[in-house]
């Protein structure tokens, strides 16, 4: 079965650089969630989209932005990178927002900021 695809899987950037992370949801899934998992920490919700509109926002820095495109894939754009942005970034997708949805996670993008 098709899974959530994230690219790249690994990314190394310097401080103050920009990064773009991509997420391709499971086919027919219309909702995308982004989470950030710092070293030794639990995943923290960043932002979500439903039908290409932002549906919720968590602890996402102003330096980060995201969008969902017409094909439902999503991109997380990160600017002015800081050392503390080094983390594993998960994307998850689900179908609908009925309250009985299960999120399916991608393999994550490991971002290292030097």
């Amino acid at each position: 079965a098709a899974g959530v695809i994230q690219s790249p899987r690994h990314l190394i950037k310097e401080k103050r650089e920009t990064a773009t992370l991509k997420c391709y949801p499971i086919p027919r899934h219309d909702t995308v969630y982004w989470y950030q998992q710092g070293p030794g920490q639990d995943p923290q919700f960043l932002i979500s989209f439903y039908e290409k509109m932002q549906s919720d926002k968590g602890s996402i820095p102003d330096r980060f932005s995201a969008q969902q495109f017409s094909d439902y894939h999503s991109e997380l754009n990160m600017s002015s990178l800081e050392l503390g942005d080094s983390a594993l970034y998960f994307c998850a997708s689900s179908f609908g927002t009925s309250g009985t949805d299960t999120q399916y996670f991608g393999p994550g993008t490991r971002l290292t900021v030097l």
Binding site: G3, V4, T31, Y33, Y35, Q41, D42, P43, Q44, F45, S48, Y50, S55, D56, G58, F90, A92, S94, T97, G99, T100, D101, T102, Q103, Y104, F105, G106, P107, G108
Partner: protein, 115 residues
């Protein structure tokens, strides 16, 4: 603020031992509850979920969990662990009603099973 607690951060068991991982959440309303497993180098995979109905839910690989509403708990159990169960386990909660169903994760429990 709502939170999810997993009290056991590291657990070491021998094969065939029984497992119980605790999960408690702080929210007075309706919740959906999940347990995910993350094998080394892999993504989060769903073990089981609870939305409503029978509070004892069975998942994949012999895992089960019981929702006890009065205790705000959703503990994960397995009667006999295997070496292949070595992984990190996350409890997650989504709050209802909600415009979205973002997860609030617990801090995770690293399980090591000794062969």
């Amino acid at each position: 603020a709502q939170s999810v607690s997993q009290h056991n951060h590291h657990v070491i068991l021998s094969e065939a031992a029984s497992l119980e991982l605790g999960c408690n959440y702080s929210y007075g309303g309706t919740v959906n509850l999940f347990w995910y497993v993350q094998y080394p180098g892999q993504h989060l995979q769903l073990l089981l979920k609870y939305f409503s109905g029978d509070p004892l839910v069975k998942g994949i690989k012999g895992f089960e969990a019981e929702f006890i509403k009065s205790k705000f708990s959703f503990n994960l159990r397995k009667p006999s662990v295997q070496w292949s169960d070595t992984a990190e386990y996350f409890c997650a909660v989504s709050l209802l009603p909600s415009g979205t169903y973002k997860y609030i994760f617990g801090t995770g429990t690293r399980l090591k099973v000794l062969a």
